[in-house]
Symmetry: C2
Subunit: 422 residues, 2 copies
């Protein structure tokens, strides 16, 4: 029991890989998360668009770590850090640590316009995904029963704000639902007439990708029927639609994929945060003056060669492993080592057989080869064999049939579109 206590906050990719990396070290590990499940966020848009079930992309954290005898998983809400006393405060208790790895992730940011959240839910949790799913499929139901053409058109207009990977994936999936999944099913509307509009403030879709890939992505989105509008700044969102600088889009279903901000616990550290509320860590992932505290994943802000390390799964995984290595170094009396992100490539999927990606910044793929690579990588990294096998099976079935079987509208009565549920 005299072994050092490593406390990890967050069971996302960063926290989970840090915990796994410490499995055989002479430490006690406690992993704290508000949720009982690890979530495979890259596939969350598939839940939002009824391609996958929530259970297909989530695994109970304590199940993943069950064989790791030095590790305890705690379902608890970590609220703040007392750096001076090396203590993590929970909403219902405290945990003293020798080493702290903060991997609490990020939430949506509406750039100060919190009222937009009601009208344009983001996509970070299972609840978010189910709420978006509910809104999307309820919109078609409403359109079917609406007799006023303008009101019907608003129900059949879907707006995605933000053309990063999540926004591109959502827009592509929404277009596929309209063109394929719902054909034959309605009597008063033609779902194929639905509009899917992807708005991006920057000048291109997938801003961080190389130029030729961005162009391929735009072409593939347009081929799916998505209206891509870059350089479009949103000035207002309300129940009836989205307002741009010089235009109003009437839409009853808006999805927010534009901004993220660091989890609130970062503010309790009393250290400098960046504009998005992320912790500015040192090159070795620690806080200045606190080599025992590391911040990783989406909650960390770190520049490398003049560029921020991106908020993607591979970066979180690499940082999680590096944080574990820094703990080991401390056990040996060594100072923490600097972290170096290795970009092995990135892929964004657009639709069935449509994707773009680059590998090690050299090999650039688009279309079916990129999509197959994307599929393989995502299945491979899905945590837990059950999910991997079941998800692949469901996917294969959906691929052959174009069906989206998980089209449940749950959580409340159809009359009143309101809070997130089931």
């Amino acid at each position: 029991m005299a072994q050092p206590h490593v406390v990890i906050v967050g069971g996302g990719f960063g926290g989970l890989y840090a915990a796994k990396a410490l499995a055989r070290d002479p430490v006690w590990v406690t992993l704290v998360d508000r949720r009982n499940h690890h979530l495979f966020q890259p596939l969350l848009y598939q839940v939002a668009t009824a391609g996958l079930n929530p259970g297909d992309i989530a695994a109970p954290i304590r199940h993943v770590l069950r064989r790791q005898r030095n590790t305890t998983v705690l379902l608890a809400d970590a609220t703040s850090v007392d750096l001076a006393n090396r203590r993590l405060l929970l909403s219902d208790g405290t945990l003293d640590y020798d080493h702290l790895i903060l991997a609490a992730g990020a939430t949506h940011s509406y750039f100060g316009q919190d009222a937009w959240a009601t009208h344009a839910p983001g996509l970070k949790s299972i609840e978010d995904a189910l709420e978006i799913r509910r809104r999307v499929f309820l919109a078609y139901e409403r359109a079917e029963r609406e007799t006023d053409p303008a009101a019907q058109a608003a129900w059949l207009t879907f707006v995605v704000i933000g053309a990063g990977p999540t926004g591109v994936e959502m827009a592509g999936a929404l277009a596929e639902i309209a063109r394929h999944a719902l054909s034959q099913e309605f009597r008063h509307i033609d779902p194929g007439r639905a509009r899917v509009i992807l708005l991006e403030g920057a000048g291109a879709v997938l801003p961080p990708y190389p130029d030729p890939l961005r162009e391929r992505a735009r072409e593939q989105l347009q081929a799916l029927g998505v209206e891509v509008r870059t350089g479009s700044r949103v000035t207002a969102i309300d129940e009836g639609g989205v307002t741009l600088a010089a235009e109003r889009i009437a839409s009853r279903t808006v999805v927010w994929a534009a901004g993220v901000q660091g989890a609130p616990i970062a503010r309790s550290l009393g250290v400098p945060l960046d504009r998005a509320g992320r912790v500015r860590v040192q090159a070795d992932l620690t806080l200045p003056g606190h080599p025992e505290v590391q911040v990783i994943g989406d909650l960390a802000f770190l520049e490398q060669d003049g560029q921020p390390v991106p908020g993607v799964c591979p970066a979180a995984i690499q940082q999680g492993r590096h944080a574990a290595e820094n703990v080991r170094r401390a056990l040996r009396g060594q100072p923490p080592a600097p972290f170096r992100y290795v970009d092995k490539g990135s892929f964004a999927t657009i639709g069935r057989g449509a994707a773009v990606g680059d590998v090690y910044g050299r090999l650039r793929l688009s279309g079916a080869p990129a999509w197959l690579a994307w599929l393989g990588i995502h299945i491979f990294f899905l945590i837990g064999f059950r999910n991997r096998a079941v998800t692949l099976f469901q996917w294969a079935y959906s691929y052959v049939t174009w069906r989206r079987g998980v089209r449940l509208i749950t959580g409340e009565r159809p009359e009143a579109p309101a809070p997130p549920q089931g």
Copy 2:
């Protein structure tokens, strides 16, 4: 358009089979449901116990009926029937009918003790199942963090009230979770120590089954570790547990599987209802004086050979088909024909490889043969191939590994156990 308009209320087994049976008849069919999905209720307990995903046991109604060109599916809340004017009132409109088939089903009944609903949720909808799932797995999390032994024991005590098929299945699945699914995963509790108590007011489990099968069912439940208490009348339920005539059971997780009552729309008919709020239909399923109105499934009460026709799927399916035949008879100018329920047998599952059943009242099975028969029948009747294939696959995987992968606690923060969510 001059074809008769058949309005069906409810997309459960009765309503769906009535609609399917009318696919080729010269009528217009409108199927109205508050939900967009047909639900395979016999497997709902598997969602509540994390064996299956919601999407595995539900199929969008309009997808099931998409090729049936004479049929419109409407997501709407039917509130009452105006028999005199042959009009169905929706919460947001009306539908005139020539023939009405009421298949609105049943909800829980707490025998007038509505306050019990908060502490002992029932199992009728996806939301119910997710709420029970949330409570069950949250209870283990709470127990893991609880230091007071009595409080911990209450979190590790699960009470199921009512030993009909649903109650027996729930109790068996809860016992399997405790003994197998969670082993190795906790550090401060032994989930295998959890108690599962099945309470039944009558003198035996599965009251409608033949005696030897009830005895087999009790033995199999006890072999799984379920404490079976028959002749136990519940007098109170609150947050801390269940009160019996001469005993108090401290439990934080109580599931209600005891009583059902007909959907509220039955009360708008102004016809005699039975004690459980079901419509007393004539032998031909119609209302007295209204041959154009039929009531089927769980909402109907009908005696045959001195016994009530049971509220099970095969009865609803047979009645749905019979209602369609009565509509066809009316088109030909014939009076409605009397309905006759053919009992092809019934099965109740208890756990992995454990079940009881009888076939045509002659062949009685228990143990593994009954379980395999139960599995085959249920997979066969699951609506929609996707569900059938995926569900069988998931099941096979769970069977081999004992895992319950869909153990998500979603819907709200772990701190405050409260309203049903996703």
